[in-house]
């Protein structure tokens, strides 16, 4: 497509406004609200913070690998929290790991989401009587999607990711802006 810009021509001299470039470039343009557009972009490229805690991590890796290929939903693992959007808590959160997880969450830029994968991350799972296990990662960070199972199948994780995508676009439609977390709280462990 040729874009020539708003050059004054013979017909549009004087006070008549020139032809808008928008009409020429995208004649069939749809208009959308900016937050919905952002949500569309966000949900289509969810970068997950790649860290596995326990058994679920194996299924998480499996979901990314050749057979299931989570990449086709735009979900790419990223080892650094600074560029990650989603934290998939895959596995048992023990008290020794609680502080690092909290800090990882705080290091992620807004907007950010958390998927609690598996029953351990949901509520302690088989280890609910243990002295050293945090009974669900929601005691530490806000969780958006819980994926049940011990461990969840890769398909279940994919479904969880799609639910998160739905949630992102619904939140944008309902004008719920992404939660901006308050200032980091590192007092508790």
């Amino acid at each position: 497509m040729e874009i020539s810009g708003n050059q004054p021509t013979a017909s549009t001299t004087g006070n008549t406004p020139g032809e808008a470039i928008f009409e020429r470039v995208l004649p069939n343009a749809l208009v959308a609200k900016s937050n919905e557009l952002f949500a569309l972009a966000r949900k289509s490229s969810l970068w997950t913070l790649s860290f596995g805690l326990a058994c679920c991590a194996i299924e998480m890796i499996d979901a990314h690998m050749s057979h299931h290929d989570l990449d086709r939903f735009g979900v790419v693992t990223w080892p650094s929290p600074r560029q990650a959007d989603v934290m998939i808590v895959a596995g048992t959160v023990v008290k020794k790991m609680a502080e690092p997880i909290k800090r990882l969450y705080e290091q992620m830029p807004d907007p950010k989401w958390v998927i609690a994968m598996g029953s351990c991350a949901t509520n302690g799972g088989p280890y609910y009587r243990s002295y050293s296990v945090v009974m669900g990662v929601d005691h530490l960070v806000p969780v958006d999607v819980y994926v049940p199972g011990c461990p969840p199948r890769p398909e279940a994780l994919m479904y969880g990711v799609m639910e998160l995508q739905k949630k992102i676009s619904n939140d944008a439609k309902n004008r719920k802006l992404p939660v901006i977390t308050s200032k980091p709280d590192t007092s508790t462990s």
């Binding site: 326990a54 194996i58 050749s66 929290p81 023990v94």
Partner: protein, 379 residues
């Protein structure tokens, strides 16, 4: 992730005062295979001292076992070594059977052996893929997981679960094999044979891979034994020790298979021993498929098992090495104490030795070659 290091610098190593840098790796790090933290002190690019920190997955499984029935504990053992679940189940069931003096039917042993060896291949395939990633090659992980997925599909048909099978029970197995097992197994063996060869061709002789792993992180047999190292890591150091052969349990004395042994004890040996082991496992499976005959799949056991008072220590060969279970019973329906002798736990100790005077760039390759599973290290 940056984490505050609280340790003082004055420990053991004498050169610590003049080191350039102290570097923290983990607990969130893509190459630590889970939640493992390694603190290294560097002099230039040389590692002066490495200090591993574990416990980021300490779930208290051993304590939890004291409160569960014997049958329920199998689920906890599934989740210890979560890449080779069936081998963990087998170890615990064998310990309980030893205390109870149970005779497990032949067919049950064949089923157990076939599935455990398959699980060994699946575990080594995961190692193969992830080790490729550690060394900087992206494609092996796709191939490794492709092979692993095939095995897992068969597991799902047999046990009903992809990972946490809860299939091996005290006295036998949960249920008999599905009708089309022999057919599926024959296809799978063919696929795996081809797959292992393909994986071997893809990575083992790669120039870059050889450069990165040959002669890196060497350990000699005597030191390895001193550290309690077992499994492929010990065999790579030239010690011919495999519990399946030296103390055959179950029906392993009926099969003819070799023990691959390395010569240098370096990372490449540890890697290649595992590749060769997969072939041996396939040969065991093939022999077992030929020998297996119909029959009972479980001994008669009371629903609530009550082993007599006493203690039993069992050793099995899990994909990572010598997986031991120390079971103390007081005659009740719950064990008095369960202690797991995890192979990764002992193998990981040797990392301080392996990393001494290594380059910092080799740290990940050395760590990957130990093939740790944190669920088992921390328990």
């Amino acid at each position: 992730m940056v984490q505050k290091v609280t340790e003082t610098r004055t420990q053991s190593a004498d050169r610590l005062d003049e080191v350039d840098m102290m570097l923290n790796m983990g607990p969130q790090h893509p190459s630590t295979h889970g939640v493992f933290r390694l603190v290294v002190w560097l002099d230039g690019e040389r590692i002066v001292k490495a200090e591993p920190h574990i416990g980021y997955l300490h779930r208290g499984s051993e304590k939890l076992c004291e409160r569960e029935d014997y049958a329920q504990i199998i689920t906890l053992f599934d989740r210890l070594d979560y890449v080779a679940n069936l081998n963990g189940e087998l170890a615990f069931c064998m310990a309980a059977e030893k205390l109870m003096g149970l005779e497990v039917p032949e067919r049950a042993w064949y089923i157990r052996t076939i599935l455990c060896e398959l699980n060994r291949i699946a575990s080594h395939m995961l190692f193969y893929g992830v080790y490729g990633l550690d060394a900087g090659a992206m494609s092996p992980v796709l191939y490794g997981f492709r092979e692993r997925e095939r095995i897992i599909l068969l597991f799902e048909a047999v046990t009903g679960a992809r990972m946490m099978h809860n299939y091996i029970r005290i006295g036998g197995v949960k249920e008999d094999l599905p009708d089309d097992f022999n057919k599926r197994m024959a296809t799978l063996i063919d696929e795996l044979k081809h797959g292992i060869d393909e994986c071997d061709r893809l990575l083992s002789r790669s120039e870059i891979f050889l450069e990165r792993t040959k002669g890196v992180g060497t350990i000699d047999g005597k030191t390895a034994i001193d550290y309690g190292v077992s499994g492929p890591m010990l065999r790579a150091a030239g010690v011919k020790e495999d519990v399946r052969v030296s103390e055959p349990y179950g029906i392993y004395d009926r099969f003819d298979f070799g023990i691959p042994v390395g010569t240098n004890g370096d990372c490449w040996d540890r890697y290649y021993v595992r590749i060769l082991e997969m072939r041996e496992s396939l040969s065991i499976i093939e022999q077992a498929m030929q020998q297996m005959e119909p029959g009972d799949i479980a001994a008669k056991v009371r629903r609530i098992a009550r082993p007599p008072k006493g203690e039993a220590f069992i050793r099995t060969e899990s994909p990572r090495g010598d997986f031991g279970v120390f079971l103390v019973s007081d005659g009740g329906d719950k064990p008095y104490r369960v202690k797991v002798r995890a192979p990764s736990f002992a193998n990981l100790q040797a990392i301080t030795h392996l990393l001494r005077d290594a380059y910092i760039a080799d740290a990940v390759v050395v760590l990957g070659s130990i093939d740790i599973i944190l669920g088992e290290v921390d328990r």
